[in-house]
Symmetry: C2
Subunit: 204 residues, 2 copies
DNA sequence: CGGTACGTTGTGGTC
DNA sequence: GACCACAGCGTACCG
């Protein structure tokens, strides 16, 4: 698919999951190899408007329109400042280090540094109907140690996520919950303690 | 601040909250009015790399570098395909309709259509230390009706969010929880029922 | 500032 | 295809 960018004056309308208008103003449209379209304004990192890959393009009079399923993105074009084809645009993905997954692996490989119990067995990404548990260790007494890992300071919703898993496993087991993260705020720490869970400091 | 776009061959390094490399390949850099920088690849809507507003720029040899606080984004430039200034780029924000807030208002204005109880008082965005409750109605018996609203099909984490509020208010009150959303999946519905909560179908 | 939640979340993985 | 969770989430808003 042909990729291009378009710098234009116009108004942008989106209809689909929600409905929105943007402008009139001067914006940048990106049409990518995968058929996705995004409209960027002069501030913010995220696109003002967008439509996912394989969007079909239609043009009529001064309207440029992209459609996909029940979604449509229409630009009422007042003036094209600048248009440029983008050839050989790479689709490489970013290689990131310091992800949550790394913290899980660190915890899995060095669990004896972080826990005061001996595990008979340890699972990672243990799947349940309520979501997958980052790490689950079972000790010789059968106590289930449920660990939710976060790559940055943990939030209150992380505690609720942990509680969801703990409550579920508590139906059939004795359970201890842990939140493993590099940092924790006071409010979250208080809530965590109130629920009988423990915070594990873990870092990259 | 001067805004521009740069289509280039090169490698991108990020360091800060995480660490990443991208490429070598051909990418598009956007430098916006607000001093933010984003690197786009030939697919996907979101930027491959980015750095927030007011990033400082430095250039040396064939390296272009943007810094902000403890974050840095560095491009090892092999070849500039082309470069273009972007003047008068609008910073208008999108005006969206069909937001969660609208659903909350709809529920607030027409609560008698959705609930079988009479409320003495109704709050929206009722603030607690564990987060703000979308809607809270108190009936003549003092029962607190806690409503979490979602603009699309509700997820299991929405149930946990609701449970967090319900548990908190249950310390001092009789409480009934509701999840108001346009749709709900089977698994989530089962979990919701198990917790004694109710689903309210609400739509735009 | 930190804390919390929304988002047309996007995107990937798993079942 | 539905479901679930992460993300350098970004961004807004309220304290």
């Amino acid at each position: 698919m042909t990729s291009y960018l378009l710098y234009f004056d116009g108004t942008v309308y989106y209809n689909g999951r929600a409905s929105s208008t943007l402008g009139p103003g001067r914006f940048l449209l990106l049409r990518k190899n995968d058929g996705s379209v995004s409209i960027h304004g002069g501030s913010l990192i995220v696109a003002r408007n967008y439509i996912g890959k394989n969007a079909k393009c239609q043009s009529r009079n001064n309207y440029l329109s992209f459609c996909k399923g029940g979604e449509s993105l229409t630009i009422e074009m007042a003036n094209i400042i600048y248009c440029q084809e983008l050839n050989d645009w790479s689709e490489d993905l970013v290689q990131v280090v310091r992800t949550e997954q790394e913290l899980v692996e660190k915890l899995f490989d060095n669990w004896f540094d972080y826990f005061d119990v001996d595990f008979d067995i340890i699972y990672t990404e243990y799947s349940t109907s309520l979501g997958s548990i980052d790490m689950l260790g079972i000790d010789s007494d059968g106590v289930h140690h449920v660990v939710e890992v976060k790559r940055r300071k943990c939030s209150i919703s992380a505690v609720s996520q942990l509680k969801r898993y703990v409550d579920e496993l508590s139906k059939n087991n004795r359970v201890q919950g842990y939140l493993a993260a590099p940092a924790i705020g006071k409010n979250v720490a208080r809530y965590l303690e109130e629920l009988g869970f423990r915070w594990i400091r873990i870092d990259f």
